[in-house]
C-alpha cells in the first residue's frame, strides 16, 4: 500500500511537471530541471512497474507450482 501511494505520488508529481512545463513564463533552466526530474521519476516508476510485474509473475508461478504440488 505504501509503495502504491508512493507510485501514485510520483505519478502526480510527473503530471504536475508536465503541466508546469506548459507554463508560458517558464525559465529554460527551470524547465531543464523539471524535465530531468520528470524523466527521473518516469524511470523510477517504470522500474517499479517492472518490479511489480516480475513480482506478480513470480507469485503466479509460485501459486501454480503449489497447486500442481497439491
Amino acid at each position: 500500500m505504501k509503495e502504491s501511494q508512493s507510485y501514485q505520488k510520483m505519478l502526480e508529481e510527473v503530471e504536475g511537471l508536465v503541466r508546469d512545463i506548459a507554463a508560458p513564463d517558464l525559465d529554460l533552466d527551470v524547465m531543464v530541471q523539471k524535465v530531468e526530474r520528470g524523466y527521473e521519476l518516469i524511470r523510477s516508476m517504470k522500474l517499479r512497474l517492472e518490479e511489480t510485474k516480475t513480482r506478480i509473475d513470480q507469485l503466479h508461478q509460485r501459486y501454480d507450482e503449489s497447486e500442481a504440488g497439491t
Partner: protein
C-alpha cells in the same frame, strides 16, 4: 349453553346462560333482574340485532311465551328457567295452568295440615305435569342398588360456586334401567350415567309426601344431548383456548432431540403404565422414566394430572406422557376439563397424550404436542424421537460432509477464478500504468520538445535579427570606412602634396649627392687600387720573400708570436701551415739574434 329472548312492546327479556355475556348485555343498556335471573333490555334495532347475533353464536333464540295450557311442556320445550323467567316478567301470563288449584282457605280457619298440603301439592303437580317431561341437569351422587339407580339432577348457578346448586332427587328403577339398556345399549347407558355429566331426561314428577320432597322418576334419557353437551363444552373450551392462542402452544414447543428423561403420568399398577414401560424396555430405551401416579378417572383426575405435569416439569423432564388405558366417553371427559387443558398449555415441555379414545379426541389430546392412541404407541413415539435424532445426526453428518466437499470445491473454484482475475487484473493494471506512464512520458517529451522548439525558434529569430542587425551595422561601418578611407586618402593626398614636392626635391638632391658620393668613392677606389697594386707581394714572393699570417692577420712583429703557435706562410703557388717552435728576437740596433726559447 343457550340464551333466549322475548321481544315485548318496549323491552327485550333475555334469559338463559347470560352470565358470560353480562358485560355485553350491560353495554346494551340491560338491567339484571335478580329475582328472575334475566335481563331487561330496551327494545331497539341495535339491541335486537346484538341479541340475535349472540343467540346464533352460542345457541338459543327467540323464546315463545308459554300460553296457559293444560298440557305440559313438550320434549322440545325451552329450558324451564327461561320459561320461568319469562313468566316472571309477564305477570299476566303463567307458565302452567292453575286450573286445578282452588283458593287456599282454611278448613277450620287455622290453615292446612301438612298432609292436606302434600295432597294439594301432589294434586297440583299431577295437574301441572300430567305427562312426562324433559328436564336437563347434571348428575350428582350417582349410585346403583339392586332396586334401582339414585342420583340428583342439579343446576349450577351461573358464576356462583359449585356448591350453590339447585338439586332434585331422581330415580331410575331397575325395570326402567333394563328397558333403557335395551334401547341404548349397556355401554352407552353406563357412559351417560356418571357423575358430572349433564343429561336430558324424560321424567315423571312425583311428590314424596312423607318427606315433602319432589322426586323425578326417569323414564328415558336423550344420549345425543349428553354427548352434544360434552361436545359443546369441549368446543367452548377449545374455542376459548384458540381465542387466547393457547391451543397450539404446547405443539409449538420443540421436541427434545434426546428424550432421555421422560415423565409418565398414569394410574399406578395400570395396564397403560406397564404397556408403556414394557415397550420402552423392548426397544432398550437408554433413558429414565419418572413416574407420577395419578388417578385417571373421576374428579381427582384433574388434581392429579395437573400436579403431575407441574411436578414432572419441575424435575426437568424432557417430555411428559399422559396415558391411560382407554375408556368410555364419560371416563375421558375429565380430559376435556379446563384445568388439565390450561395445565398443558402452561407446560414448558412437550406432552404426549395417549388417553386412549380412538373415535373422539379429547381436549387434552387436541392441545397436546402429540396424540397417540395407546401407551405402546406413545412409547414407540419416544423411541422414534431418539431414532429420528440418530438418523438426523447421520443424515446431517452426511449432508455436512457433502456440503463441506461442495463448499471446498466451490471455494476452490472461486479461488481459481479469483486468482485468474487477480492475475488478469494486475496485468491490466500494470499495463494501464505503463500506458499511462508512456503517455505521461510522451507528453513530457512532447511538451519539453515543443518548448525547446519554441525557444529554438525564438533563439533563431533572435540570431537572425542579430545577424541582420550586424549585417546592417557592418554595411554601415564598411560604407563609413570607405567614405572615411576615401576622405582620408583625399585628405592625405592633399596633405602630402607639398611633401611630395619636398621629397622630389630631396630626391633630386639625393641623386646629386649620390652621384657626387659615387664619384668620390670611385676615386677612392682607384686610389686604393693603386695602393693595392703597390702593396702586391707577388713581386716580392717571386724574389723569395714570404708573408706570415695567423688568424687572418699578417704577422710582422715578434710580439704577435708565441711559441707553439700555428702560422701560415704564403708562397707564390702554395700555402704553408707552420708551427712556431722557436723565436729569436733581433736587435734592431746590432742586428744580433737573441734566442728567447728553445722549442
Amino acid at each position: 349453553m343457550s340464551v333466549y329472548y322475548i321481544t315485548q312492546s318496549q323491552c327485550i327479556l333475555v334469559s338463559g346462560k347470560t352470565y358470560p355475556y353480562r358485560e355485553v348485555l350491560r353495554n346494551l343498556g340491560g338491567q339484571y333482574q335478580a329475582q328472575d335471573k334475566s335481563w331487561l333490555l330496551p327494545l331497539n334495532d341495535e339491541s335486537l340485532q346484538k341479541i340475535e347475533e349472540l343467540c346464533r353464536t352460542i345457541g338459543g333464540g327467540p323464546q315463545k311465551v308459554a300460553r296457559p295450557a293444560p298440557a305440559p311442556a313438550p320434549a322440545s320445550a325451552p329450558p324451564p328457567r327461561a320459561a320461568a323467567a319469562a313468566a316472571a316478567a309477564i305477570p299476566n301470563e303463567t307458565l302452567v295452568s292453575d286450573a286445578g288449584f282452588e283458593p287456599v282457605t282454611s278448613l277450620h280457619g287455622e290453615g292446612l295440615t301438612i298432609a292436606e298440603l302434600m295432597q294439594k301439592l301432589q294434586l297440583a303437580i299431577s295437574h301441572s305435569f300430567p305427562r312426562s317431561l324433559w328436564v336437563m341437569g347434571e348428575i350428582q351422587n350417582f349410585r346403583q342398588t339392586a332396586t334401582g339407580s339414585y342420583f340428583q339432577l342439579a343446576d349450577f348457578k351461573e358464576g356462583a360456586s359449585r356448591s350453590a346448586t339447585m338439586t332434585v332427587n331422581a330415580t331410575i328403577w331397575r325395570s326402567q334401567w333394563l328397558d333403557m339398556e335395551r334401547k341404548l345399549g349397556r355401554d352407552t347407558l353406563k357412559e351417560l350415567m356418571a357423575d358430572g355429566l349433564r343429561v336430558r331426561m324424560l321424567v315423571d314428577i312425583s311428590l314424596f309426601k312423607d318427606r315433602g320432597q319432589i322426586s323425578l322418576q326417569v323414564q328415558g334419557i336423550d344420549p345425543t344431548f349428553t354427548k352434544g353437551s360434552l361436545a359443546l363444552a369441549r368446543e367452548k373450551l377449545l374455542r376459548e383456548l384458540r381465542t387466547k392462542g393457547l391451543d397450539q402452544k404446547n405443539k409449538q414447543l420443540p421436541w427434545p432431540a434426546f428424550p432421555l428423561r421422560i415423565g409418565l403420568i398414569s394410574a399406578d399398577e395400570s395396564r397403560a403404565k406397564s404397556d408403556f414401560l414394557d415397550q420402552l424396555l423392548v426397544y432398550g430405551f437408554p433413558g429414565q422414566v419418572l413416574f407420577f401416579p395419578a388417578q385417571m378417572q373421576g374428579e381427582n383426575t384433574l388434581r392429579d394430572v395437573v400436579s403431575g405435569i407441574q411436578a414432572l416439569e419441575a424435575r426437568h423432564c424432557d417430555m411428559i406422557v399422559i396415558t391411560r388405558g382407554g375408556g368410555s366417553a364419560a371416563d375421558l371427559r375429565w380430559f376435556d376439563s379446563p384445568e388439565i387443558a390450561y395445565s398443558i398449555t402452561a407446560a414448558r415441555v412437550p406432552i404426549v397424550a395417549a388417553i386412549g379414545h380412538h373415535e373422539d379426541v379429547c381436549v387434552a389430546e387436541e392441545i397436546s404436542a402429540r396424540r397417540e392412541k395407546t401407551p405402546t404407541a406413545a412409547a414407540d413415539f419416544c423411541v422414534h424421537l431418539l431414532q429420528k435424532t440418530r438418523e438426523r445426526i447421520e443424515q446431517l453428518s452426511l449432508v455436512m460432509s457433502r456440503s463441506m466437499d461442495e463448499r471446498v470445491r466451490l471455494q476452490t473454484q472461486i479461488l481459481q477464478n479469483l486468482k485468474a482475475r487477480l492475475h488478469l487484473g494486475t496485468k491490466q493494471l500494470t499495463h494501464q500504468h505503463e500506458s499511462h506512464l508512456q503517455t505521461v512520458r510522451n507528453e513530457l517529451q512532447m511538451r519539453s520538445e515543443r518548448r525547446l522548439m519554441q525557444w529554438t525558434t525564438q533563439t533563431q529569430n533572435l540570431r537572425q535579427n542579430l545577424f541582420q542587425r550586424l549585417q546592417f551595422l557592418l554595411r554601415e561601418q564598411t560604407n563609413r570606412r570607405q567614405r572615411l578611407s576615401q576622405d582620408l586618402h583625399h585628405r592625405a593626398l592633399t596633405a602630402l602634396l607639398p611633401k611630395r614636392y619636398e621629397i622630389e626635391d630631396q630626391k633630386r638632391a639625393l641623386g646629386s649627392m649620390m652621384r657626387e658620393t659615387l664619384q668620390q668613392q670611385r676615386e677612392k677606389i682607384l686610389h686604393l687600387e693603386k695602393l693595392l697594386i703597390q702593396s702586391d707581394p707577388q713581386p716580392w714572393m717571386a724574389q723569395g720573400w714570404t708573408q706570415l699570417f695567423a688568424e687572418g692577420r699578417k704577422l710582422d712583429r715578434a710580439d704577435q708570436l708565441e711559441p707553439g703557435m700555428h702560422v701560415r706562410a704564403r708562397l707564390i703557388d702554395a700555402l704553408l701551415e707552420l708551427k712556431l717552435e722557436s723565436l729569436t728576437r733581433l736587435d734592431p740596433n746590432k742586428s744580433a739574434i737573441k734566442k728567447e726559447s728553445s722549442l
